[in-house]
Symmetry: C3
C-alpha cells in the first residue's frame, strides 16, 4: 500500500517532464533566479511575470501560479492579488508561500485577501509560519523558523481544514496534509538551511507539480520529496554551501523516478 | 573571404577587452546578476542603473545601452524610454531584447515608443519573438520559443529593413541580419536552454560588443559567437545545468581570439 | 601588541557564529542573492526586507542594518531612510555602502538625509567613493574605482572625523579608520574585481560583524579580513570568475579563527 503511494508520488516527476508546465511566479528578488533555474532543471517552464498590467492575461496561459510574499514591492502585492483572481477565473492551481508572515503580522492581511478574492490550493511554509497561521505561538528569527517538528502535523491539519487546501510545513521533517490524509517526509539535509532560497525553490517546485498532476496532495508530496532527495545527492558531492547550491540544481536535473522510489522515506497516515 | 570575416569577428573580443566598455543595462531581476557577471568575464564593465532620476545622465557616460523588457516594473519602463532618449541624444548604441513580446502583446506598444522617441541599433530576440515582430505567427510558450529556424532569416531581414537596424534571431542556429548582409552561426549547445538567462546574457554581450566595435553587424556576430563557443567549452566540462552555468562564466573569461577563429562555424551571405 | 589586535579581530568570526545576528539589508537586486548567501555562510541570518510599510518594525528586531544605494528604486529609497530612522530609535548599528556616489552626484542628497534623520555607524565604499565623499576628485568608471591607494587613508580619516563613524575604503589594499585608529589590510586577490558583488558582500559582512561585536572598528576590520582571506583560499582552487564565486561562498563557510590569525596581514596605526 505504502509502496503504491510512493510509486504514485514518484510519477509526479515524469508528468512534469512530459507536460512541461508553465509556472507563473510572483516571488522575491533574493531568490528569483534560483527559482527559475530549479524549475528548468525539474522540467518545468518558468515565467517571472509580475507587471500589474500583464498578470491577469499571463496567468490564463499558465499551468500554475506560485506566490511568494517574501519581499513584496507594492506593485508585486497588487499583481499577486490580481494574479490570484485570474487563477480563480481560469481554474489555475495556486501555491502560496507565506514567507515571514510570523515576523511581519501585516502579511496576514494580504493572505486573507488572497483567500477572499482569489484562490489558494496549497499553503507551503516553514513550520514556524504554518504554526503562526494556525493560530499557535511560533518561534521564528526573521524569515527562519526555529521550530522542531512538534505540533506541525496538528497545525497543518487545522489550516488544511480551515481553508480546504493542501498544507505543507517544512523543516527537519516535512509535513504534508490534506484533510484526513497526511505524509511525513524524512529525506533532506541540514545543508539546505545554509543556502538562501531552499524554501522558495521547494515552493516553486510544488507549483510545477500542481500544474502537471491532478492529485494536488500527491503533487506536493512528490515535489518536496524531489528536492529533498536531490539535496541528499548534492550533499554527497559538496559539503559547503556555494558548491552545494550548484550541485542541488544538477541533482534535480539528474533525478529519476527510480531514485525517488529507492530513496524516499515517507510515513503515510 | 569567409576566413577574413571570421578574423574580423574574432577581433571583437580583443576590442572589448581593450576598451572595457561601460554597459548600462535595464533588465529583468531574474537574470540581472548573470548579466553583470558575464559582462565582467567578457571584459566589459556592467552598470545596472535604472532609477528614473539617474538614467539620462548615466547613459551619457556609457558605451552602450542594453534594454531587456522581460519583467519590467513601471519605473523600469519609464526609465528605459528615458534612457533610449538619452542614447539618441548622446549617440550611444542601443540593444533591445524584446523578451516575451509574443506572449504579452502589450509589450509591442513599448517597443513602438522606443523606436519613436529613442533609438535602437540592434534587436536581439529568440526566433519566436523575431517572427512575431516581423508580423508572422510564431510558436512560443511563455518566454520560450518553440520555433525551429524556418523562416528566421526572412523575418530577420524584414525587421532589419523596416527599422534599419541589426537583427539577431537566436535558436538552435542563430541568424544575424543587417540589410543585405547575413550570418548564420551553428555553434552552441542545447544545454543553454536548461538555464535561465542564456538569452539575456547573450543580449548583454551584444551591447558590450557594440560599445567597443564600430561595425555593429560584426559586433553582434562576434558577441553571439563568443557565448556559443564558450557554451561548447562549458558543456565539455559540465553536463548538468548548475555546473554548466558556472562553467559558462569561466569559459567566457578564458575565451581567446584563436579559439573563436578555430571553432567558429559561420555561414555568411 | 599587533598580535593581540589580530587575535581580537579574529574573534569577530566566533561572535558572529555564536550570536547569529539578524542582518536587515536594503540592497540592489544585482547582488541581493550573493549578499544573502554570504551572510548565511558567515554565520549570520539575512533578511532582505524593503517594503516601506514593514521596515520600521523589522529593523527593531534586527541586529544590524545594511544599506546599499547601488540601484535604488523609489520605494527602496524611502524605505532606507525610514529604516535608518528606526535604527536610530532602536539603537541598531547601520552600515552604509555608497555605491556609485561618485558617478551619480544625486546620491549625495540621499546620504546627507541618512545622516540627518537616521544614523550611520560605518561607511564602507571603494577608494573612489570614499575620496569623493571626502571632497577629493576621484577616478571612477561607472560603479568601479580606478584609484590606487594613494590618499585613501587621509580621506578615510577626514570622513571618519566629519561623521564620527568608522570608514572603510576598499581596493587593492583596504583602509579602515576610526578617528585616530587605522588598519591597512593587505590580504585579498585581484580576482574579486572579476565578479559582481564583491563590494556588496563585503559590506553585508561588515553589518553582520557590527551586529555581533561591540567594537565597531574591530568588527569592520574582522569582516573585511574574513572575505579577503576567504578570497585567497578560493583563488587557490578556482582561477576563473564563475568557479571562484562559488568557492568564495564555500571558503567563508569553512573559515576559522586560526586561519584568520595565521594569514592576516594587517598594518595598525
Amino acid at each position: 500500500m505504502n509502496d503504491l503511494k510512493l510509486d504514485k508520488v514518484s510519477k509526479v516527476l515524469k508528468e512534469v517532464r512530459k507536460s512541461v508546465p508553465l509556472v507563473h511566479c510572483i516571488t522575491n528578488y533574493v531568490t528569483i533566479n534560483d527559482c527559475a533555474n530549479i524549475l528548468l532543471s525539474y522540467g518545468a517552464s518558468p515565467a517571472m511575470c509580475e507587471a500589474y498590467d500583464e498578470v491577469f492575461d499571463f496567468v490564463k496561459i499558465s499551468s500554475a501560479l506560485y506566490i511568494n510574499i517574501g519581499t513584496f514591492t507594492r506593485e508585486q502585492e497588487s499583481s499577486a492579488i490580481l494574479a490570484a483572481v485570474s487563477a480563480k477565473t481560469h481554474n489555475i492551481p495556486v501555491v502560496l508561500d507565506p514567507v515571514a508572515c510570523a515576523a511581519i503580522p501585516k502579511k496576514i492581511q494580504f493572505i486573507d485577501k488572497l483567500f477572499k478574492v482569489g484562490r489558494v490550493d496549497v499553503i507551503k511554509g516553514n513550520i514556524g509560519e504554518i504554526k503562526f497561521l494556525a493560530g499557535e505561538t511560533s518561534n521564528v528569527k526573521g524569515v527562519d523558523s526555529l521550530e522542531d517538528g512538534e505540533g506541525a502535523l496538528e497545525c497543518s491539519r487545522i489550516l488544511s481544514e480551515k481553508y480546504n487546501c493542501v498544507v505543507a510545513a517544512t523543516g527537519k521533517k516535512d509535513f504534508i496534509v490534506q484533510g484526513k490524509n497526511s505524509a511525513i517526509i524524512e529525506n533532506g539535509t541540514e545543508m539546505l538551511t545554509n543556502i538562501t532560497g531552499a524554501g522558495c525553490m521547494l515552493g516553486a517546485l510544488c507549483a510545477a507539480a500542481c500544474g502537471a498532476f491532478e492529485d494536488k496532495f500527491m503533487a506536493v508530496v512528490g515535489a518536496i520529496l524531489s528536492i529533498n532527495i536531490a539535496s541528499e545527492e548534492a550533499y554527497k558531492e559538496a559539503k559547503a554551501p556555494g558548491s552545494f547550491r550548484v550541485k542541488l540544481i544538477d541533482c534535480i536535473y539528474e533525478l529519476s523516478e527510480e531514485k525517488l522510489k529507492k530513496e524516499g522515506k515517507i510515513a503515510w497516515n
